[in-house]
Amino acid sequence: MARVVATWVVLAVALAFPLASPESYYLSFASRIFVYALAATSLNLALGYGGMISFGHAAFVGTGAYVSSIFLAEGVASAWIGWPAAVAAAALAALAIGAVSLRTRGVYFIMITLAFAQMMFFLVNSMKAYGGDEGLSLPARVTGLAGDVAFYYVALAALASAVYGLHRLARSRFGRVIQAIRENEARAEAIGFPVYRYKLACFVIAGAAGGLAGVLLASHGKYVNPNVLHWTQSGTLMVMVIVGGVGRLWGGTVGAAALLGLEDLVGSHRAEWIASLFPNYQQHASLAVGAVLLAIVLFAPQGIAGAFARRRRA
């Protein structure tokens, strides 16, 4: 009960936020958090709930980002056309990649998802028509989203829908099966579930949601470049999910907020006591992120191992 109340309070605050603080910087920053939270939540579905350690999730985010941007670049200014197309493209990519990758397991699955993501990275990198390795800058957002406030609400709506959708999904028949598969895949098959089909469906849903995040990401900055598909981006999303809580409803959101918040904090608020030792410390925030992540993995294993109670050799 307390959790429901807390959720409504947070939602109310989020809704009221732009009215209280219409300052562009914070609005934009909050929107960015929502978008990454959506991306991380979509990965959480595949990784945390489905147990699929996909290192190629950035491919779907990137597909959404690029397809929607290409529509804009070609003059289609309406989101009603470009955005569903982009999400559908991401879902299709997830279907194709998942269909092949899910035939493997364990480390081979990790490798093959990573390889596919790299393939997409290189493919996009060589698309000279759409910026190649320099990326694609867009003159404007889709119709109606020019204002930061409008974008903020759209991003918030997308995140809220995704989290609510995940909430319902987790308690649905599908959710039960997926979590059972994560828990004990062999037995799930042995009681009559065609495991491959369920994993693929979960993978596609996660990919589609990731695609939506990509759409918003590109729209937010009016810019997209191949780095959004690089495997290290998948890594970043994974870090968000791990920090926030694998397999937990708010894992993606908390993780994204924590990581981006930390990054911002370090970057814009100079702590003199650190600066006296390391004058340039603010430029090396990712070292701190790395150290924190390493510490979590090494010393707070319950956080990760707890959610992954399956046997070691998957």
């Binding site: 390493l294 090494l298 070691r312």
Partner: protein
């Protein structure tokens, strides 16, 4: 498309492949024996390149720089193993992935702090010219050196693994780890040693490729994926597989990038060819890996029976 060009690109592919082998060899052993995914392997390659560049600057001698960088990087590798990596052997693959990913972040920034985003490293003047391999066919001397060093190291590794006690322990560990442990192999020391060797090999590759590919932060990430592709194709735990896989990937990647766009140009419109050619060429190695995973998932030369 002259045969000179073909020969040249083939040699380039062989050269790249041999360097990939140096990375893949260490990686496949760590993975095969310790069952550990080490994403930070590429960072050791980067460290090797940076240390080499720094030493070359300090000593003024290319050879000194490269030769000294190898034990230095090996030592760092062993230090890394003893402090962090050995805690990950018993953990699940996801934890290993995350922890070594964290190491990539840390090491990238650490290098940036110590040396900045990049360092210049140029090939020794004596080797910067071409060598006439065949009448009318010239090939860069430096690249020949790389091929030579790569082949020599491959031979050395073969001798080590096939004809020494340590090598036998390594092979035993790769084919059946539990058995090797049960037979009382001093696992801890073996692992640390293995890591050091792997790091040393990375350093050789990093130092030699530095003048060709630019010594910069993040150089490890790009080549790391290819190294994983190599070991998947070759078979996890197998040095022979790593060699074959690396040479195949090196050739496919290099010749593909060189010739596929030309080939496409023969069959397709120039606009399509210039877009599709390079795009597909760059993913050929990955497509190869996917094919291997599909048809022969244990790789070409699986170490485990």
């Amino acid at each position: 498309m002259s045969w000179v060009l073909i020969l040249e690109q083939t040699l380039n592919g062989l050269q790249f492949g041999l360097m990939l082998f140096l990375l893949a060899a260490g990686l496949t052993l760590v993975f095969g024996i310790m069952d550990m995914i080490n994403l930070a392997h590429g960072s050791l390659y980067m460290l090797g390149a940076f240390i080499s560049a720094a030493l070359v600057q300090a000593t003024g001698s290319f050879v000194a720089g490269v030769v000294l960088a190898v034990p230095a990087t090996a030592a760092l590798g062993m230090l890394l193993e003893m402090s962090v990596l050995r805690r990950l052997y018993e953990r699940d693959h996801l934890s290993q992935v995350l922890a070594t990913f964290a190491l990539i972040l840390i090491l990238n920034e650490a290098v940036r702090i110590v040396w900045g985003p990049d360092l210049p490293l140029s090939m020794p003047a004596a080797l910067s010219g071409p060598v006439e391999l065949l009448p009318g066919m010239f090939y860069p001397a430096y690249r020949l050196l790389i091929i030579g060093v790569g082949a020599a190291v491959a031979l050395l590794l073969y001798v080590l693994v096939a004809h020494t006690r340590v090598g036998m322990l390594v092979r035993a560990g790769a084919s059946n780890r539990e058995m090797a442990l049960a037979m009382g192999v001093d696992v801890r020391r073996l692992f640390t040693l293995l890591f050091g060797v792997g790091a040393g090999l990375c350093a050789v590759a990093g130092a030699l490729l530095g003048p060709l590919l630019a010594v910069q932060v993040g150089m490890g990430e790009n080549i790391l994926i290819l190294a994983f592709v190599v070991i998947v194709i070759g078979g996890i735990g197998s040095i022979r597989g790593a060699l074959v896989g690396a040479v195949v990937v090196g050739l496919v990647d290099t010749t593909g990038r060189a010739f596929l766009p030309l080939l496409f140009g023969h069959f397709f419109q120039p606009r399509v060819a210039s877009a599709a050619g390079p795009a597909i060429a760059s993913v050929l190695a990955y497509l190869l890996m996917v094919a291997v995973l599909y048809f022969r998932p244990q790789g070409l030369f699986p170490a485990r029976g």
